[in-house]
């Protein structure tokens, strides 16, 4: 169960009941292997029979395109940029993460509030203020941190996307030595991540090893969190089951029968699709 606990005040329109899914956050700096391992985890969890959803920064319908545009123009002050990211995160919590958890899914978040806190801290934004603002964030079941150092990071960045403007702190560091800026920026950022790891009790996984070693450690962490979740997921069950096309199947009783809740009486302890998805985030 994911308890409906928030870092701060519970946002309006959000029910208080615990949700059957699990929220797992993977945090790390860029090029530490985050997306690779999330891809592997997703496949593994699905093979094990779990329904998985993944979500990441800037993927909201509402604010994703706007942030992308703003970043390309490099014209935002850090406060506005953070509030943009906060809008993006909340939109995803409300429209993706909560409904996913309500439907009993394992939701993997590719970065969450912690990356945003770390980046902002490095740029001198008040941590107290940001933590207040991000009080709306649902507390995850586990935060896994892929721990890496700059020495291991540099070669990985060079073989993949190369030095990125933002990931080199070019928006606030002086000079045009991108290598030096990258090293300086990542050192500051990683120090912030470690501070957050202590404060929020991250599960720290050493990301300097081989992919196989890292994945084994991740599987162990994630395995602990998902243990005990019902595998015959009610949502997948209902979707895959061929509908009973007999007469009356679409009547009110037919629907009730199929979910084992004839005439209001709960016939078994398996939650119906209705209760699993009931009243998702759309309008609450």
């Amino acid at each position: 169960m994911t308890e409906m606990n928030f870092f701060g005040h519970r946002p309006p329109g959000i029910a208080t009941d615990a949700l059957p899914g699990r929220l797992i956050v993977v945090e790390a700096t860029d090029a530490a292997g985050r997306s690779t391992h999330i891809g592997l985890l997703k496949e593994w969890l699905e093979d094990e029979g779990y329904a998985v959803m993944d979500t990441g920064l800037r993927r909201s319908d509402l604010a994703g395109p706007g942030i992308q545009q703003a970043k390309e123009g490099h014209i935002l002050d850090p406060i506005t940029l953070n509030l943009f990211y906060a809008t993006d995160l909340w939109d995803r919590i409300e429209r993706r993460i909560l409904p996913g958890l309500r439907a009993g899914m394992v939701v993997i978040a590719d970065r969450y509030v912690f990356s945003l806190l770390a980046r902002a801290a490095v740029r001198g934004v008040s941590q107290k203020w940001l933590e207040d603002v991000y009080g709306f964030a649902l507390i995850p079941d586990r935060v896994i941190y892929l721990d890496i150092d700059v020495e291991h990071l540099v070669p990985r960045v060079l073989v993949t996307q190369g030095f990125d403007y933002w990931e080199s702190g070019q928006d606030f560091l002086r000079g045009h030595d991108m290598f030096q800026n990258f090293v300086t920026y990542q050192r500051l950022l990683l120090a912030e991540f470690r501070r957050l790891a202590d404060r929020y009790e991250f599960a720290v996984v050493d990301a300097r090893g081989t992919a196989a070693e890292i994945f084994r450690a991740l599987k162990e962490e994630v395995g602990e969190v998902v243990r005990g979740m019902p595998l015959d997921n009610p949502v997948t069950g209902v979707v895959l089951e061929p509908p009973d096309l007999g007469i009356g199947a679409f009547g009110s009783e037919g629907l009730g029968d199929r979910n084992g809740t004839a005439n209001g009486g709960p016939a078994d302890d398996q939650p119906s699709e209705r209760s699993a998805l009931g009243g998702s985030s759309q309008r609450r």
Binding site: H9, P65, L76, I79, L83, A86, T87, E94, W129, F136
Partner: protein, 247 residues
């Protein structure tokens, strides 16, 4: 909010729709310019970089109380750092049509935690003067009915589910906002203006209150280009539009 010692002054107006606050601010703006002061005006929900997202959210009805609140705070932050702070540092009068109190009132009506809202907007500069235009609800509704097209979804507060009819919903929504404003007048010591008074009387009072705050404001020198043109017998055909304004 931040108490900053800056050379400029920030005057803001608040009030429900139809309170006449924008009209009064507009009159004040024209007067300040005619007196030669450097004036910068800023409007709620107008930052170019955030506007598209807000529009997208409204159009597709993606906005919920929290995302509505957050995206408006992003707009406000952008204007704070791009317009308001630089202008105050440059010694200008900044006129803001709606300020943080609009968010405090509206978002609280939508159920957002009041304490969180104050934290959210703690980066805002505390205004030098904050006017609240107090108008009875019925009067405001009558004024709006005259001059406004169809009410929009969020404008009417239809997302709150107060009523299905936009007009009815709007009236209830504005009534609730008005109640919130009453709390804010207390909490932040907003200057209550009687918005049922004549335009002229309100404006006279507003200028009286504003005048003592103008001593350090930068004055704009106008007419220099005009003098140059006159003495040289030129028309200024090729001048940029911006410099023609100061003629």
């Amino acid at each position: 909010m931040r108490e900053l010692d800056l050379p400029g002054k920030l005057f803001i107006v608040e009030g429900i729709d139809g309170s006449g606050k924008s009209t009064q601010l507009d009159l004040l703006h024209k007067w300040l310019i005619s007196e030669g002061y450097l004036v910068v005006a800023t409007e709620w929900n107008s930052a170019s970089i955030v506007k598209q997202t807000t529009r997208r959210g409204k159009k597709r009805r993606l906005l919920t109380p929290m995302s509505f609140s957050l995206i408006h705070s992003a707009d406000f932050a952008s204007r704070t750092y791009q317009q308001i702070l630089p202008a105050l540092r440059g010694g200008a009068v900044v006129l803001a049509d709606r300020y943080v109190y609009t968010a405090f009132a509206r978002d609280a009506v939508r159920g957002v935690n009041r304490e969180w809202l104050r934290d959210l907007y703690s980066f805002a500069v505390r205004p030098s003067l904050a006017f609240y235009f107090d108008v009875p609800l019925a009067e405001a509704i009558t004024r709006i009915r005259g001059g406004r097209a169809q009410l929009k979804y969020y404008e009417a507060g239809l997302d709150l589910g107060l009523a299905t009819d936009p007009e009815v919903s709007f009236a209830r929504f504005q009534g609730l906002i008005r109640e919130e404003y009453e709390r804010l007048v207390e909490e932040f010591g907003l200057i209550r203006m009687d918005a049922t008074q004549t335009l002229i009387r309100q404006q006279r009072l507003m200028r009286e209150i504003v005048r003592p705050h103008l001593s350090d404001i930068v004055k704009v020198t106008t007419g220099e280009v005009r003098e140059a043109l006159a003495s040289e017998d030129l028309l200024g055909r090729y001048l940029e539009p911006a410099s023609r304004v100061s003629l």
